[in-house]
């Protein structure tokens, strides 16, 4: 389907934005790699043939007894040399490029963990002797998904709340404003500490909890834009045409707020990534053992003798944040009607 001339112009401006376009490509590559983390870094073969049967160990659990009846009927541990030998005797295996999952212990990495980068562990191992590269890939996946999830849901809630306040004004606005003032006064970190002392927060619980507080970022901006817009002539003209309230908000007023919103989005996204990393750093984030960038930073702090941890953590975090902001800039410019001429 051909794009409308408007979208053609928008994509053209985006393409003309070299830094943003380059960032998008890099981010896309990182995104694809991290989303297919299971196929790139895994301690199970992607494909194996054993006595004429094909298996996909990365996708389905396979009992050890499949390969030798004398083994235990548990899920096969393919890092075990005996298991490997048993399979090789009657078939073959295709391994992913990195033979470690984020939680695979590298047994023969050296006398000390963390061990420095080597031909096998490109970024070395961490203090529990896990492969850092594998953890970074899984950590990026977690951070990106968490960041997107938090940003999208928080923005939708925030925009809706701001739109309702700004459009109806008066008492609605007054009560909503006071509620937000009280709500934003809640000590988020203390609540999180209390929460994590009661239950071990999972991905979804952490997301829901942070959502309770992060939706307010956009509310003020959107509210201001709507308050300004509601007495503009073109909004009145739309009312005079008989356009329904929600449609006026969506079509006539929201686009006004969109520039402000889009300006904020990359920052909210990078904030979310930073927030998760800092919670993990403090130990109130994901359950222990999860592949998180924050935990990597924390390990780097504890192991200053192992600078590869610190460098990896810094470059990964800073890189992803910078990319997001450059992309955001380009998106913002391409939606700017003054440039869409």
């Amino acid at each position: 389907m051909p794009l409308s001339p408007l979208w053609q112009r928008r994509t053209k401006i985006f393409r003309a934005h070299r830094r943003g376009r380059f960032s998008l490509y890099v981010f896309a590559v990182i995104f694809v790699i991290s989303m297919s983390a299971n196929l790139i870094a895994n301690d199970k073969p992607l494909l194996l043939e054993y006595r004429g049967n094909l298996y996909f160990p990365a996708l389905q659990p396979i009992a050890e007894t499949t390969f030798d009846p004398s083994f235990l009927p548990t899920a096969a541990d393919f890092t075990n040399p005996q298991v490997q030998a048993a399979i090789r005797a009657h078939g073959w295996m295709v391994w992913p490029p990195i033979r470690y999952r984020y939680d695979t212990i590298v047994w023969n990495a050296g006398s000390f963990a963390p061990s420095p980068p080597s031909a096998r562990d490109w970024l070395g191992t961490d203090e529990v002797s896990r492969d850092v590269l594998s953890r970074v890939i899984y950590g990026l996946r977690l951070s990106i998904l968490f960041g997107f999830g938090l940003t999208i849901v928080a923005s939708i809630i925030g925009i809706l709340a701001g739109a309702v306040q700004g459009f109806y004004g008066g008492l609605t606005d007054l009560f909503f404003q006071r509620f937000i003032e009280i709500w934003s006064g809640m000590p988020q970190l203390f609540l999180l500490i209390i929460l994590s002392s009661i239950i071990a927060p999972s991905f979804w619980i952490l997301l829901a909890f942070l959502l309770l507080f992060s939706w307010m970022t956009l509310t003020g901006v959107v509210r201001a834009a709507f308050l300004r817009a509601r007495n503009l002539d073109y909004v009145r003209a739309a009312k005079a045409l008989g356009v329904a309230d929600w449609r006026i908000m969506l079509r006539h007023m929201l686009p006004n707020a969109m520039i402000a919103t889009l300006t904020f989005l990359p920052f909210i996204l990078s904030d979310s990534v930073t927030l998760l990393a800092s919670l993990d750093f403090l130990g109130f984030g994901m359950p222990p053992g999860s592949p998180s960038l924050g935990e990597l930073v924390s390990e780097a702090k504890d192991n200053l003798q192992a600078p590869w941890l610190g460098f990896t953590a810094f470059i990964t975090l800073a890189g992803i944040l910078v990319l997001l902001i450059f992309i955001g800039e380009a998106v913002r410019d391409s939606f700017d009607p003054r440039k869409t001429q």
């Binding site: 408007l6 002539d233 003209a237 045409l241 356009v243 449609r247 006539h252």
Partner: protein
């Protein structure tokens, strides 16, 4: 000997010539009016006299001498002495040219102190004297007030006082009354004329309004696209305009009134319209009274005719427009085709809305900036004609664009790519695509240049002849009202002052207020 002489002035910005080889002079005691449309370079020429050009615009050539000093060669200190000292300036917008955080008396005093002509002792007395001179009767109270407490006319008087604070020899007035009401306009210009006479000032008046020029200017310079096309005494210009642009400007103010429509049926009947706002006061915010924006107004609108609503700001004329569209709450009843609009709600109100549409004053604010022109015009169809297919809707939008004289490719463009007049055409297309019976025109031409004004008025008239839509035309300018209205209703402070056919009201006005408006509009 002229106080201010400009010779062969050329102004450029980014390789583009904005003012081309312009020469004029202003002698003591005379008023030179520079007239032109927006973009003709008249304001830039005035600013360059005081070397106040905005950044990016450079003087490519020419000589400007003020009181014997060449502005190009003047040091910053000399320029400062001239600005405000030898030449005062009044700007267009009295709302933003005063500092909102300082009392106005202090601002006038500051202007007096700047040039060292006055000492601090006895300054207050002189400030009050000056405020009285510019017609602010209650000078001590006004001097202690902040700008937001004053009306537009009072603020413009303060600006004049500041401009006159150091006994200048030249007064530059850049559209000094564009933001003011017609009757205030006259007062302010009378004040400038009186000051000119008593002080022997040279006045450089920048304006697009020719009726002002006729009454206040000695000489006229007509500008078009950066060039002076005609310079002559005011009397000669009005008696025998030489250049085509001058003729166009003059003709734009003199459109013939429309032909009358006999026996048109009554379409809309408004009875006892009133809009009142409560006044709250005291600790408990109890209602202690009411302000009536509109009080007991009744009128009929016939099919296919134009009813002109005229009055100053605050007279309630815009309020009538908004209440007919049910955009504000009101008392009284409005019968359209026998249905009382004031009692409708929900879906029936929405259905009724297609019969009354509105075109607003500000062509820059009335179009959603982030929708394309096609989306803006087609919006009414998506609400009121949901069964139309996409192709049918596109077809109707294209027809509407054709009707208002815009090219078909306009529909994919954004409003900001169009000029004020073109935007107003878009707004008219949006209103007319639903084929309403009544179109409220709320000062649709007051933000436009006179020649564009005339084009829009002609367009409105031809659309009316073709579609038989009735107009409720709101304006403060009787010259514009005359060009379109069959009947006229004069409003003051929310009450009807006079109502009748255009010939009756304009030919033999009964109310003094109508006569004042006519005089102010130069009709």
């Amino acid at each position: 000997m002229s106080f201010c002489t400009v010779e062969n002035l050329t102004l450029q910005a980014g390789g583009q010539t904005l003012v081309d080889n312009l020469s004029f002079c202003v002698a003591a005691g005379e008023t030179l009016a520079i007239v032109g449309e927006s973009g003709s370079g008249k304001t830039l020429s005035a600013l360059s006299v005081l070397d106040l050009l905005p950044p990016g615009i450079t003087r490519a050539g020419g000589r400007i001498t003020l009181d014997g000093i060449d502005i190009a060669g003047a040091t910053p200190a000399q320029k400062q002495k001239i600005r405000g000292g030898k030449a005062g300036m009044i700007f267009q917008e009295p709302m933003s040219s005063l500092n909102p955080l300082q009392r106005v008396g202090k601002q006038v005093a500051e202007a007096m102190l700047l040039h060292g002509k006055f000492s601090r002792g006895g300054l207050r007395g002189r400030v009050l004297e000056l405020l009285t001179e510019v017609g602010l009767a209650d000078a001590p109270r006004i001097a202690a007030a902040y700008p937001h407490l004053l009306s537009g006319g009072q603020r413009q008087r303060i600006m004049i006082a500041i401009a006159l604070a150091n006994d200048p020899q030249l007064l530059i007035a850049d559209e000094p009354t564009t933001a003011l009401d017609v009757t205030l306009e006259k007062q302010i210009l009378d004040l400038i004329a009186a000051e000119q006479k008593s002080r022997g000032l040279g006045v450089l008046l920048i304006t697009h309004n020719l009726s002002l020029v006729r009454r206040y200017a000695d000489r006229v310079l007509v500008m078009d696209q950066g060039r002076a096309v005609e310079t002559n005494s005011a009397a000669a210009v009005f008696a025998a305009p030489a250049h085509a642009q001058t003729k166009r400007l003059l003709a734009a103010r003199n459109l013939a009134p429309p032909a009358s429509i006999p026996n048109a049926p009554v379409l809309l009947e408004a009875r006892d319209l009133a809009v009142k706002f409560p006044i709250f006061s005291g600790m408990l915010r109890r209602k202690t009274g009411e302000v009536a924006a509109l009080d007991g107004v009744s009128f009929n609108l016939h099919a296919g005719e134009t009813l002109g609503l005229v009055g100053e700001s605050g007279s309630g004329k815009t309020t009538i427009g908004l209440l007919l569209l049910r955009l504000i709450r009101f008392q009284g009843e409005v019968l359209l085709d026998g249905t009382d609009l004031s009692k409708l709600s929900g879906a029936r109100l929405r259905a009724m809305r297609r019969k009354i549409q509105i075109v607003f004053q500000d062509p820059y604010g009335s179009l959603a900036p982030r929708l394309t022109v096609g989306e803006i015009i087609g919006e009414g169809l998506t609400v009121h004609a949901k069964n139309l297919s996409r192709a049918e809707r596109e077809e109707k939008v294209a027809a509407a664009l054709r009707d208002v004289g815009l090219p078909a490719d306009a529909k994919n463009r954004y409003p900001h790519e169009f000029s004020g007049g073109q935007r107003q055409r878009i707004a008219i297309a949006r209103a007319l695509i639903l084929q309403p019976q009544v179109l409220v025109l709320d000062e649709p031409t007051s933000a436009l240049d006179v020649t564009v004004q005339a084009e829009i008025l002609r367009l409105l008239r031809s659309l009316q002849e073709r579609t038989n839509v009735a107009y409720l035309f709101i304006s403060h300018d009787l010259a514009v009202i005359r060009a379109l209205s069959h009947r006229i209703l004069v409003l003051k402070d929310g009450k009807v002052v006079e109502m009748g056919t255009a010939e009756e009201v304009l030919g033999a006005p009964r109310a003094g207020y109508t006569r004042a408006l006519m005089e102010a509009a130069g009709v």
